[in-house]
């Protein structure tokens, strides 16, 4: 074919392309890495008043959040990892007498249409929240008795009370729908299901 001719005729063009790729790709990649995690300064977030003299005293999100484990959605922080891996150690109580309740119990939800089963880990949730934050107002304590649907969640009920507001948004399907119905493994879940032994209250 005319392969030789093309190669000969386009040597300069190949060099230009090679140059573009060799220089352009690293520049673009570096740009992407740099640009990811650009938290908007308070004065530009359309919420804080830039004319408030005290704005300089407030902590900038980038200063705090850039130190924490990265996540793509939400405010680009993986808050569960930040807590589990000790990046932060937020206080559990103000009143000395408050009972700190952490429950290690996974709930399997199987009415999921054609999605993966949902594994709800109490552990990660109760590290942050108290039982009373969800039970009995948002969820009944007895598993399987709360009529959770995706539509209701999207409307901000049930899981949607927090997910999409302060915790990872509903665009992250597989983080909840993490267990394939026919698999014996644990999918993307961080914990094994079913839990071994009886449910236990940690600490």
């Amino acid at each position: 074919m005319s392969k030789g001719l093309n190669r000969k005729g386009c040597g300069w063009r190949r060099r230009v392309y090679s140059f573009c790729v060799a220089v352009g790709l690293p520049v673009l990649f570096a740009g992407a890495v740099y640009a990811t995690g650009q938290w908007v300064p308070l004065a530009e977030d359309d919420l804080h008043d830039p004319d408030n003299p005290a704005i300089k005293l407030l902590q900038e999100p980038r200063e705090a959040l850039s130190e924490l484990p990265f996540d793509y959605p939400g405010n680009q922080v993986n808050w569960v990892r930040a807590l589990e891996e000790g990046f932060i150690n937020p206080r559990t109580n103000i009143y000395p007498g408050s009972e700190i309740r952490v429950l290690d119990l996974d709930i399997l939800m199987t009415r999921v249409g054609d999605q993966g089963y949902v594994i709800f880990p109490h552990k990660q949730h109760t590290e942050w929240l108290d039982c009373s934050n969800c039970h009995e107002e948002i969820f009944a304590s007895k598993a399987g008795t709360t009529p959770v649907t995706m539509m209701a969640i999207l409307e901000g009920r049930y899981c949607g009370r927090c997910h999409g507001a302060v915790s990872f948004p509903l665009s992250e399907c597989a983080r909840c729908h993490s267990k394939h119905p026919h698999s014996t493994g644990y999918g993307l879940a961080t914990q094994a299901w079913p839990p071994t032994g009886a449910p236990k209250m940690a600490e």
């Binding site: 992407a32 009370r161 948004p169």
Partner: protein, 134 residues
């Protein structure tokens, strides 16, 4: 039909365009205000800027259960009737904002830091626009 150099040109342009698109998406600024709450039921009527409550700032220091269980903040923006009198008497924000755990109520501008005219609301994430029912 396209000749070989034209095809290469097309492919190279497409690849570069693709990379550029990904870069543009990644570089779109992050909504740092993810779950920032604007409190303005009373503030501006009483001559103060609206309050901006940042969840991100507080959750680094306190777990959800501190405010939503111990301090009895309902888990829905707008559901809590917070007045300065409450705060001064140690309820709601005043549990910590008393000069001991956190800055005291004399530092008006640190909390009343919102743009004039903002409506009470909660701001969502940069991907989803926030929760549905607020």
């Amino acid at each position: 039909m396209l000749t070989n150099p034209e095809k290469k040109h097309l492919i190279a342009s497409s690849v570069l365009f693709g990379i550029l698109s990904v870069w543009l998406v990644l570089s779109s600024p992050v909504a740092a205000e993810y779950a920032d709450v604007v409190l303005n039921k009373r503030a501006e009527k009483e001559g103060m800027r609206p309050v901006i409550f940042s969840h991100w700032f507080h959750r680094i220091r306190f777990r959800c259960k501190v405010c939503h269980s111990e301090l009895a903040f309902k888990m829905r923006a707008g559901a809590n009737e917070v007045t300065m009198a409450d705060i001064i008497e140690g309820r709601f924000c005043g549990m910590c904002h008393n000069g001991e755990v956190a800055w005291s109520v004399e530092n008006c501008d640190l909390c009343h830091s919102g743009k004039p005219g903002l409506e009470s609301q909660i701001k969502g994430s940069h991907e989803t626009g926030g929760p549905g029912i607020w």
